[in-house]
């Protein structure tokens, strides 16, 4: 049995924490060397969230249209895709007729109200259900965020003869859904 003096004991107790620290440093160093010795491919993934967006010029106007006029057209207006996904654009009227706060007459949309279709270039009948007018509208530009804009949207209206004078209005809704 070896008897240690009090002084020796204190020295040993002082060395132990130093050895633990040295072992820890050595372990880290070995671990670090192993990383260099055996390189592995690190896969980095990033998820870009999708966003859908649509904008449209509002309000637009046919201006003053005499009763009995066929093929009155609005000035061309814009519809844009401001999101980072491609969209299909549909359109519907908010009601079945143009109404006036003063006149008792109305202008029915059926056979009178049309909107231009981007893909065919033709005017199509406006209804109160969503009908496609632009298939696969491109997303906004990467980086700049400049939206894809269709500047050639247009509407056409026939105002029946002897329609009472007054201001007439309707609400149009442009729906966007992600193009699949």
């Amino acid at each position: 049995m070896i008897m240690l003096g009090e002084n020796m004991k204190q020295k040993i107790l002082g060395i132990i924490p130093l050895m633990v620290v040295m072992l820890f440093v050595a372990f880290l160093a070995v671990g670090d060397n192993q990383t260099y010795a055996n390189p592995v491919n690190q896969q980095v993934t990033v998820t870009v969230p999708q966003a859908i967006a649509i904008s449209v010029e509002t309000p637009i106007s046919f201006g003053s249209v005499p009763a009995g006029t066929n093929y009155a057209v609005t000035p061309e207006y814009w519809i844009s895709n401001n999101g980072n996904v491609k969209i299909d654009v549909y359109v519907k009227a908010g009601s079945t007729e143009f109404t006036s706060p003063t006149a008792t007459d109305t202008i029915a949309i059926d056979t009178n109200y049309y909107i231009k279709n981007y893909n065919s270039g033709n005017f199509q009948q406006v209804t109160t259900t969503d009908q496609m007018i632009y298939n696969n509208m491109n997303k906004a530009s990467q980086g700049s965020g400049t939206p894809t804009v269709w500047n050639g949207a247009q509407q056409r209206l026939n105002v029946p003869a002897y329609t009472e004078d007054g201001a007439y209005s309707i609400t149009m809704i442009y729906s966007a859904t992600k193009h699949n």
Binding site: I52, V56, T58, F62, G63, W78, Y90, Y168, S169, T177
Partner: protein
Amino acid sequence: MISLIKRNKILLIILILLILFNSISPICGAGLWASPPEFKYNLSSSETINGEILVRNIGKEDLEVVVEKKRLLKDSINLLYSDKGIATWITILNNETNFKLSPGQSKTIQFKVTAPEKINYFDAVGALLIRGVPIESQNNNGVNIKQGVELVIPIIVGLPGPIIESLQLLDHKAPIVLLSFMPGDFIYNLNNNGTVYANMTGNIEINGLISSHKVPIEGGVFPEDNYTLIEKWTPGFSDFGLYSADTTIKYGRYQQTKTIKTHDTILVIPVWLIILIILGAVVWYMRRNDIKSPFKIKIERR
């Protein structure tokens, strides 16, 4: 002096850039932005899942926003909605179905989807409709249109159940007679009577005496949905005579392994033939009735 000219040039370039930027970026519009644009969930019976959408007013107008939950039906032309099926499984939380959004303002819409205890089909497609209409005063002159926007956010729910891939051709129409440069519509009314989404690919092979054409087909039909597929073909100048139109629609949820086939016959009458017949008829009529031609062509020998 030189620095003054340089400064003027820089100002001019900035001015041109500003004009260009303004001509590109839309102004005075109603606009909505939302993320994410769709949801896809797999649910077990009676399971509930929560989701949320961030909506922002990206236009220049104050908007009155209405949020609705619907079952989504679509084909190549129309988007239709119903209040049945998956529409009843969706709940918009906190009663946030009607609110105002100023330009630049955002709002989070929370919802939950609870699958029913008894499941009828595997794929169900609902949607949240987020509609923004400008709060603007009406113009008191002329015929005016207030224009609003709507974002259709599909909520696609896959449920455990039998996977039945089945697409039924209810009826179809093909043109019988076409003239050159006259587009003809091939219309196919389809019904998905299976339990899963049917991805469709295929083509219409149009074969004649001297030419053949291929019209590609693409689309998809949700379960219990009717789909009107419309494809166009326009004969060219050289097309004439009888053409056989063989349509092949391949479908399936992932792999298009099942097939629908149709056969039609189209008569293409070329424009040049019509002009020749009319000319021939006029010449024949004039000769028969001894009518002298108002035009005389004299060929002289030298």
